[in-house]
Amino acid sequence: MISTGLVIAVAGAVLAALIAGMGSAKAVGMVGEAAAGVVAEDPAKFSKVLVLQLLPGTQGLYGLPTAVLALSQLGVLGGSALELTVAQGIAYFAACLPIMIVGYFSAVAQARAAVAGVGIVAKNPSQNGKAITMAAMVETYAILALLVSILVINGLK
């Protein structure tokens, strides 16, 4: 018998991977378009713009360990799912919210910074380090969100 609490908790874990992944997919796609524009004119810049394209992909990756950790603690991965109260289910769902929401929005924001960075590489390839640093700054908040989600999930053991 699957409890309502478990359903809520699993929904939180799945959405953490889903929404953060959606943000990253959208973001990597956007930077990929800009990168393709530069490579179309100058193929030698491929490696420089590739790094920028990869940056907003990390949020999707952060959603994955959060979901795996939650599902593992809930016993879903082992095949022996726990019975949870609604309150416990909501607690797991809340624990997944930081990476779910911050993951999505930081990926999109990072994509805009990375697209601007692609513009820097297009005009002045020697400054690509600065372009990467500026885009990477956005990553801080995704990492913080991941940390909070994991700490809370661990605390719910």
Binding site: A34, G37, A40, A116, G119, K123
Partner: protein, 322 residues
């Protein structure tokens, strides 16, 4: 249209901006000893194979390539139509004039254009305008009737120039992009000011001026007309009250100086696009950047051909985007 849809196009434009002439190169061109040295400097700066025989052809080709670049990379090329619709109206003028005087229009047609000039030519010959878009069909029909009734080439020019400006604003509004709309309105204001100044210098009557001026949201056309009727000084004073001091000052110095101030004002508006990484603005700015570059190269080469002093050339060249 979302600004993120322009990511590919803006990146391509940014890559091509590296090929634009720098201010230092233009300064070297101005300081070159003669026409041949200027051509050599241009060849070194990327204007491959340019010489006295193909100078005009190469410069036209560069602007055409810039338009092709922004059109081919934009997510919806219709959003850029407001920039080049003037070429279509130029082609309509050429086609009507050539049809009336039984001449071949081929060498007079401008490209790139939005509409196929063959379709316009066929419509004029058959008097069947159904193959053209509705608004264009109306303008072509009215222009043709006007010229066949009056046989007045100047009236035709005035009518089509006005329609060209109004169509440009309509197309910009159709794109629903605020930058394009404000730029089209600025272009309309500048076109109206040029008309008003020309009319003031050639002492045209009120009826003619009102027929020539396009409706602008940035200026009271009636007041502009009455200022034009009062002469160039009154017009300059009126332009000053609009807040365009640079244009007002340039008007006093002469038409060439005013033309330059107009181009520089547009460049000033589009220059902000240098700091935008998404949206239509960098594409539009690139078009004006190449246009300003070509104008400068033409000015320098023509001055060098005629042995004009470097200081005078420096006064004539436009502000660059790069």
């Amino acid at each position: 249209m979302k600004d993120t849809e322009f990511a590919y196009a803006v990146a391509r434009v940014r890559s091509n901006e590296n090929k634009l002439l720098s201010s230092a190169t233009v300064e070297s061109l101005i300081n070159s000893s003669d026409y041949n040295e200027a051509l050599k400097l241009l060849a070194d700066a990327g204007y491959e194979n340019i010489d006295a025989s193909n100078e005009d052809e190469i410069l036209s080709k560069i602007l055409k390539q810039a338009v092709e670049l922004i059109y081919s990379s934009a997510p919806d090329d219709k959003c850029l139509d407001f920039l080049i619709v003037k070429n279509d109206y130029h082609n309509i003028k050429a086609l009507i004039k050539c049809l009336v005087s039984d001449k071949n229009p081929e060498k007079l047609l401008l490209s790139p254009s939005i509409f196929d000039s063959k379709a316009i030519e066929n419509a004029l010959k058959t008097k069947d305008y159904s193959a053209l878009p509705h608004f264009l069909a109306e303008h072509v029909r009215e222009a043709y009737e006007l010229v066949t009734k009056t046989m007045d080439g100047q009236l035709l020019e005035v009518f089509l120039d006005k329609k060209s400006i109004e169509t440009s604003i309509l197309l910009a509004k159709g794109s629903k992009d605020s930058f394009s709309v404000s730029l089209a309105e600025l272009m309309c204001l500048i076109a109206d000011l040029k008309i008003a100044l020309r009319c003031a210098k050639t002492v045209k009557d009120e009826d003619f001026i009102m027929k020539a001026l396009a409706q602008s949201s940035m200026v009271d056309v009636r007041r502009l007309c009455s200022s034009s009727l009062d002469g160039a000084d009154a017009l300059s004073a009126y332009v000053d009250t609009l807040g365009y001091t640079s244009l007002s000052e340039a008007m006093k110095k002469g038409y060439a100086c005013f033309e330059r101030a107009c181009d520089d004002l547009i460049m000033e508006k589009v220059k902000d696009a240098k700091y935008q990484c998404l949206g239509i603005a960098p594409l539009v700015a690139y078009y004006f950047a190449v246009d300003a570059e070509i104008k400068n190269v033409r000015i320098v080469l023509s001055c060098k051909k005629n042995g004009i002093d470097s200081d005078i050339i420096r006064e004539r060249v436009r502000v660059l985007y790069a």
